[in-house]
Symmetry: C2
Subunit: 249 residues, 2 copies
Amino acid sequence: MHALIVFCHPEPRSFNGALKEVAVETLQRQGYRVEVSDLYAEGFDPLERPGHYVERVEPETFFPLTEQRHAYEGGTLPVDVKREIERLERADLVILQFPLWWHAQPAMLKGWFDRVFVYGGLYSGRMRYDRGRFPGKRAMLSVTTGAPAPTFSRHGRSGHIVALLWPIHYSLYYLGVSVLPPQVTYGVQGGGLSYQDEAAFRERLEAEKAAWARRLEGLDGEAAIPFAGWDDWNEQGVLKTEHPRAWQP
Amino acid sequence: MHALIVFCHPEPRSFNGALKEVAVETLQRQGYRVEVSDLYAEGFDPLERPGHYVERVEPETFFPLTEQRHAYEGGTLPVDVKREIERLERADLVILQFPLWWHAQPAMLKGWFDRVFVYGGLYSGRMRYDRGRFPGKRAMLSVTTGAPAPTFSRHGRSGHIVALLWPIHYSLYYLGVSVLPPQVTYGVQGGGLSYQDEAAFRERLEAEKAAWARRLEGLDGEAAIPFAGWDDWNEQGVLKTEHPRAWQP
């Protein structure tokens, strides 16, 4: 079994960095071959733009999806995008490790979605959702937040964590991947716990590392988040009332 | 009155570029002084990282919020961040013009949130939500989507547009800004309408430009999206049951 950990934090000695290390060690102990996409360390370019495409279909005007498909089909995708796609293809399990910044993934990781999930290659009008490119793969977010857990509850001040992560989960499902419930580590900064308070930081870190390792050890038995699929939608792309099994915010 | 248009698209000759131009012209006609942050054209750096901070509080380990506050207080913020904050400070109205990529704003615009909304300057534990830094300012998203409108309805295949935009709206509200309902232009790519179909593109574009101009002309009378505020939350940061006025996904 192969695992890919996409790690997005500018500081390796961060809480996120520690959780990434735990995942590497725990999965290796379970027999996984583990690869890490360390986006900051590898200098991943998060910006989709004309400069990435050498042979343009439309040299005058930049249509991102047109150029993505053309580059995929012609084998001229940018080197970093090719590498990330190969990593995805090898992976049975994909873990995204990142801090929640402004109610979403940091720009670096958002750019990984924008550039790597290539139109005409990783998805198309016909190849998406439960008919997506990667059936059988599993993915999972491991997220840290600054604010404490109660503020992320259904009517919490920080926003419902299920709603905040839904756009990211749904983007993974768009590729046909099964998405496991996220590992959310709350209140890493703020809420009385500061990185600078070394003792509290260490204690909390060790507890969260242990919890994360335990979770990873039992991952095989976990059920994926249910999403609607093609059989559930009518020709307008709206849920048929007789198939109300899937929830969205 | 000042308006700031934050424009995020790699191609000026795009649908987004055309809508941006309409906003500039329409607002100027109404007497606004209009500034444009053209993130791609200006080469904005979307990545929060140690290299932006010359005088570090913690030279060993990079804690983004710690360095943001320190740089704000010491006047050593990066030049581009300073410029964007000054533009925000001047603006009575802020419009974000962008395409929806992977259920969110493109990485470039996400990075504008990550870097410009500086801790200790634009917000703090005490200065946020309805006690935020920018009361009286109004903000609004103008978003294009690839998929057609019905798929973004409450039970639509693309996800409920209200839920998808909520994290971005809430991030603006976090700064104390009043957020107007978004201008969403659906089905710009896909759904039978292709950029490359020149006649259909032109016709649709002209219709959408006119609709956008009409909307902008009547903006003064529009009511903002309601959000909960400090009086609505208990000490855990959860909505008090007696104040259920605010909705979140």
